[in-house]
Every structure is written in structure tokens, then in C-alpha cells.
Amino acid sequence: ARSKMASPKTAPKDAQVMAQILKDMGITEYEPRVINQMLEFTYRYVTTIIEDAKIYATHAKKSTVDADDVRLAIQCRMDQSFTSPPPRDFLLEVAKQKNQTPLPLIKPYSGPRLPPDRYCLTAPNYRLKSVQKKVSSSSGRITVPRLSVGAVSSRPSTPTLGTPSAQTVVTSKVGTPVSLTGQRFTVQIPSSQSSTVKSATPSTPTVQNVLINPSLIGSKNILITTNMVSSQNSANDSNPLKRKHDEDDDYDAL
């Protein structure tokens, strides 16, 4: 990769401008790739603005793009992507309102204190495909861990005891549905049981393909569709970041 980068003396003019900007802003230490990233960003930003400006100009039935169109394009993009935090007087106003309400009393002995279920993430309808932690054959190469998220098929209804609603199960790229090989997991244990543990997916078992979640309502209706589930032994080492490149196809299938 090093050989691809131009030496400073023969760097293109834009790259020199970027280097000068960094110098002006007082940044003295940076990786050489930063200049490339800045150039890419500039190119993308300018192209987007000019394309938008062209659209506005044609909408206004003008033959050429002029400064007003560009100005409008910049403003619209600014409101979309480069937002800034709310102004101070607004924040002070909101804070004053919020701080007036007294702190709520704490109910005693209420188990894990969590917000109402609709605001919690305790009922995920997906499962993360975990990365195999074998010793990487391409050692020395820093690779990005890929996460594939299983396709959403059935939405669990709120896991309170109630009428088990009909679940429509939509599967994607599934062979014949095969019964789970003991990899069940629940959304929430209903309160008929005494335990108050909220369990969720175990994170370590590896699955080969996309797994659709089951949802457990009451104690009975388990609607599951799965693909082949092969659990493999994953060697967990305590080294923080041994990464392995994963396939893209599962990710793209979403």
C-alpha cells in the first residue's frame, strides 16, 4: 500500500491542499491515509452538492446551474447530515422543565429495575451470528469482524401472558425446516414461573446459517423455523481481538 502513495514532493495539488489544511489546524501527527480519506470525502461531498444543485436548477427550469442552486443544495444537505446540537437557550428551557419534577420514589423489592418492556431490548427478534475464533490463517492481516444478523421473521408479541397471537413466519432462504437441535432460547419467562431471570440468546454457539428466532409465548407455542444448525466448538481465547474475515453473503441476504 505504501508504494501507491505519492511522495510529498509529487503529490497532486489537492493532496497538498489537504496537507496544508491539516497544518493550519495545528494537526501535526497523522497517518498518511488521512489525506486520502479527506480527498475522498471532499469528492463525495462536492459531487453530491453539485448533483443536488443540478436537480434544483432543472426544477426551476434554468439552463445553467448558478450560485443560488448550489447554496440551496448546501443548505439542504446541511440540515440532513451535518446537524449540530440544539442551541443553548432551548436546552436550558427543556432542562428547567425537566428538573422541576421531583425525583420519583423507588419501589422497594421490585426485582430488576427496567423500563416498561416496549422500551427495552429484552425481546430481540434476531440473533447475532458470531465469528469463529479459530487462529486466523491470515495472521498479521487485520480484518474486520463481520456480523451477520439473522433475518427477521417473526415478531414476538409482547411477552406477557396473554393470548398467544397467531404468528406469521416468513422465512428466507430456508431449506426444509428442521427442528432445532436443542438451541432454544426464549424471549421472556412468563411470570407464572418464579424465576425473574430474563434470558436471551447465548452468544457463543456458532451457527452456520441464518437462524430465525423462535418466540415463546406462554409455555407452549414454539414457532421456529431454522436452517441447518451446526454447533461448533469455538475456541475462545482471551486475546481481545483475533479477528477473522467472514463471508459477505449472509450479510447481503438481509
Binding site: 443553548r88 436546552l91 423507588i106 427495552c120 418464579s194 434470558s199 457463543t204 481481545p240
Partner: protein, 736 residues
Amino acid sequence: KMAAVQDGSIEPEPDKEIKTEILNDVAGNLAPAAAGMLSSSPVPAPVPMAAPKPTPSAAEAKDQQTLLAVLQFLKKNKLVESAGGAGAGGGQSGDAEGGDASSLLSRVSSTPAAPSPVVAAPIPAKATGGEQPDVSVVLSAYSQQGDPALYQVYYNGLKKFIESVLDCHRAELSQVFYPLFVHMYLELVYNNHENEAKAFFEKFSGDQECYYEDDLRVLSGLSKREHMKGNETLLDFRTSKFVLRISRDSYQLLKRHLQERQNNQIWNIIQEHLYIDIFDGMPRSKSQIDSMSGSLAGEAKREANKAKVFYGLLKEPEIEVPLDDEDEEAENEEGKPKKKKPKKDSMGSKSKKQDPNAPAQNRIPLPELKDSDKLDKIMNMKEATKRVRLGPENLPSICFYTFLNAYQGLTAVDFTDDSSLIAGGFADSTVRVWSVTPKKLRSVKSAADLSLIDKESDDVLERIMDEKTASESKILHGHSGPVYGIGFSPDRNYLLSSSEDGTVRLWSLQTFTCLVGYKGHNYPVWDTQFSPYGYYFISGGHDRVARLWATDHYQPLRMFSGHLADVTCTRFHPNSNYVATGSADRTIRLWDVLNGNCVRILTGHKGPIHSLAFSPNGKFLASGATDGRVLLWDIGHGLMIGELKGHTDTVYALKFSRDGEILASGSMDNTVRLWDSLKAFDDIETDDFTAATGHIHLPDNSQELLLGTYMTKSSPVIHLHFTRRNLLLAAGGYNP
């Protein structure tokens, strides 16, 4: 006559004849009236507006300027009338008229160099308090019309004056330079005088204090008004008052000089943008001023630090005794009156005296102790008996946990209180938890398996754990941006993580899954921490606000708003009643959890603050910033009591030992330094003068207080933790 003038002003397109008519009409009254009206305020009468200032621009522009001045005078006049007579109704109409006038102003003035944007700017937010400054600003800007080069002249004049005063006053008056420079520069940029702004900047930016260098660099990149729009920090700077503390003698000198005719421009700016907190007494020396200044908002006003702060600790409940006795004691404590009463032993309380500086037990609702918490406390006390007594003769051993292969991706670390788990937040948006002890991490079994176990067995708590997936580390996925803040809960059940994606996530350490995502900041959240008693937690982020949450509310309970720039560090006080926030505006604020008020503003750092630590007794606060200094503060008085120099790079980690004898600091310069905090806190002089005026005289004893410097092999230290037995643990990512 007033009616005629009023008609003229409401017309959307004022005719030239009417203008000249108005002019002739009012000209006679304008000059003396203006003079009379304006001299009632401290603003001396500027050049009488009646005679339109001969400008090089066209006659039309001249008339416009006149009209502007007339309208301003009208506005002022109306308000004077309403203030004198009608009261609220009159005030309303006066304001409405003023509103009309200013809107008309903005319509009339089409030239970019018009002063009207100044009036229509966010400044109306404080227009209610400062009608006169508005007028004076407009008028002064009017008088600058077409001649921003005068800014340089004025600044130069002030510079010469200050250089000529007596030595004792010069240091104090030099404080004026920086805010004045920035406001004048922003004024020029805001009014679109780009070239003059650049020239002004080039000429005078070198004179400023070295610690403002970063700000000046940001300013140098800002040459157009559009640049200012997105920069909330700068807008806040423009609309808030920079606080200066000057002795009365120096102030008189300055005032006398500036009220002479040719210097009123600067006087106007000072009036509008600066708040001068005058004190009686000796002028401060340069070193005293330097130690307190550096923040984006100047120093703190004296009354900002006058509120009473309950910095004492809450009483620990007795737990050796069986449960019923403990309830009795709790009741006793609640039955006691608030701490403001002088303590009397005849209250029938237990042998422990009430600390007058401690908050009441029920000042804020706190969760009750569960059985597991009580067991934990008993463990804590047992460990405390085995605790090593640290001191200058007895330094702690340091165990450093290096994160390998993190490639600068390690952004946050935390230890549990009993030092059994370590969690790391990474730039790839994962959170990883490791077990420090040989005991592996186990998560709870799935529901199907749980239904199979024998619930009556004695070791049911062991059986619910899944042996098959036990491992030394667990990875938690969920964030969509780098994880900048991490905090364990005191009961080891939960883990918090805050990220660049704007959310704070609560993870369960029983199941190693995410339980809740708290959305509120829509911008990166830089830090988060649980309260020492659990249940509450705080977060601070890029939106300049720190929020207090409870785990069972999906919205924050308190919002601590007031900082001018990002909140980079948030810490609870040991008694959970106060929250300290350090910010990129170089101030530290202490907030009251009960009502969200800011009770202390502490200035003195010269860079964004990245670490805060409360002493275990709750009285003192230590802070570390990018300038490499560690500052010690007395919370009760709101004063700086110590300065520890030694680090050469940002101080990212600060921790007091368990009994407060040693302060450990870890920095980006790959060192851990130990400081003698007992000695530092012994040397405080808090006589009445110091407390009243906030003047401090810091002894330069950093060298004596430094007990040891320990280098790592190119691993910046980003977290420190004293175990219950006073062993120091440190953590950082290897960064060759």
C-alpha cells in the same frame, strides 16, 4: 409628531421624502434627546445620530442609515415611555413596537454591512434585560459603518493604555484582551468584513495568552458568517458573558479611560459581552490570575460558588445487627431533622454524630439494600480490615493490564468494585468483559434448561449458570459506533456503555445481553457512570448536556445544561447527591441531583477536562485535563487548593486510594504518577479573605507531593482502580 414618525416607521417601503421629513422633524430633538437618554445609562452618548454620518457610500445608503438610527431611537423611546408609565401592557406594546422596528430594520437594511443582523441575531434572547446594550451595539456598529478598520485602532489604543498603567493593575487589566479580541473578531466576521477580520486577527492574535492557542486556531479557520452557524460553542460564547474578576481600583482606571469619547466603542463591547465581577481588595498577581483563567467563559462569578453543598458522606447502615434492628435505625435517621439544624447529642441518636455537611438520607430517593448488597458490604468490610495503609513510605504496588492487539481501538475501561471483572469499550463498537480472577464468566442458562434444574437444591444459584458456555471473556455487540464510556454497577449485575451512536446501553452481566438502550443524546456520548448506590446513572456527551437517568425510566430524570462545549467527563459524588461534569470548555461544574442546579463552577484548566475523581471523604475533587496538570479543589468553598504538575500529556485517569491518602494519575505520556494527597489537603489555607474573594495562592510544591513515576512500555494509561486492599490496578492499550 410622534404619530407622524410612527407612520413613517411602519411603512414597508419608506419614501425618501418622508425620511428626510422625519429627519428634519426629529433632528432637532434627536441629538439632545439621544444624549440625554443615553447618558442616563453608563453608556456615554456616542456621536449624535441626527446628522447622518458622511460615508463614502451612496446617498441612499446614507438615508438608510439615518432611518436605522431613527428607528432605533424610536424603539428606545417607546420602551422608555412604557417603562415609565403603563407597566405590562405598555411594555408589551413597547416590545411589539421594538419587534416591528427590528423586523423593519432587517427588511430595510439590504447591504451586508448593515448592523441589523446584530439585532436580529440570537441576542434577542437577552434583549429583555439589555435593551440599552442593543441600542448601543447598533449605534456603535452604525458608527463603525464602512470603517471596520477602526477596530484595530481601538484595540491598539487599549493595548497602549494597559501597557502604561501601573504594574499592579496591568495583570488584571490584561485579562480583558482575550475576550475583547475574540468578540471584536467575531463581530467583524458576523458583519461580513472578511478582510478586516483577517487583518485584525493577524495583527493581534499573537499577543494573546499561550493557553488560548487552541481557541485561536479554531477562530483562524472561521472567516465567514456561515462558518459560525453550525458551531454551537461559538454561538454560546457570543451570547454568554465572559466573566472577569477585577479589583475595584483597576476597574476604575479602566472605566475612566474607556469613557472618554474616542474609546466608547470598546466600552460598548465590554458592556455587552463581559461581566466584570468587582471585588474590593488588592489586585491579583499574574500568577494568581493565570491559575484561575483559561476557560471559555472566563472565571466563575463569586455568587456562582456560594450555594451550600452537602459534601459529607451518607451514613452506612449497620449490618452486623439482624434485620429488625436495622429497620429501626433507618427510621431513626429519617425521623431526624435536616442537617441545617445544629447537631445536638441529646437527639437520642446513636453514638455517631450527624455530619452537618452531609445530606439527609432521604434527600434523594435511593434504592434499599438487598440481601446481596448486604453480603457485599460485609465482604467489603472484611477486605477493608486487610487493607494496606498507604503513605509516602508505603507506596502501593501497581498491576498494569495491557490490552494487546487493540490497535488504538481501546476507548474505555472499567473495573468492578471488587476487581473481579474488567470491561473494555472499543472503537469497533464492541464491549468486551473479562474475568480477572480464575473464575470464568458464566451466563444464565436458557429457559428450557432452567426448567430442568432442581429448584430446591442448595446450590441452585450455581445450577442456573451455564457451564457449557463458560469462558474468560464475553463480547457484547449492539452499539453502532465506538464505545467511549463504560461503567459497572456497584452490585455487579449491570454494565453501562455509552457510544458515538448517541445511546447508552445497559447490559446484564447475568445473561451477557443488552437490556435497554437509553436514547436522549442524539450525539456522541463521551462518558457514563453508575451511582455509588446503583439505580441512577449519568451520561455526558457532545450536546453539551449531562443527563441523570434511572434504570427503570426510559427518559432522563435530570438534565444538567450550562456548559458551553461538550461534556467529556461525568462523575458522581460518593453520597450520590451531586454530579461533577468536566467539559471541553475547560470548566468543571458541580450539579445538585435534587433540583438540577449548578452549585459550583471551577475554572483553571487550560484544556478540555478528561478525568475527575472525588476523594473518598467527599470533600475534595481532583481533575485532569489535556494540559497535563492535575488540579485539586475544595468543594465546600469552591476553591482551587492544589496543582500537581508533572505529566506531559493528557491525564486520562485519576483515582484516590481507598482511604484517600494517595492520588494516582495516569496519562497519555505512558506514566502513572502517585501523589501525596494527605499532604496536599493539609496545606490549605482557608481564611476569610480567601473564602470571600476566591483568591488562592498555590504553593509550588508539585515536586514534594510527587511520590513516584512509573512508566509503561508505550501504553497510555486510561484507567486506574484501587482494589479493596489498596492494590493499584491500571489499564491501557499497547500502542507502540
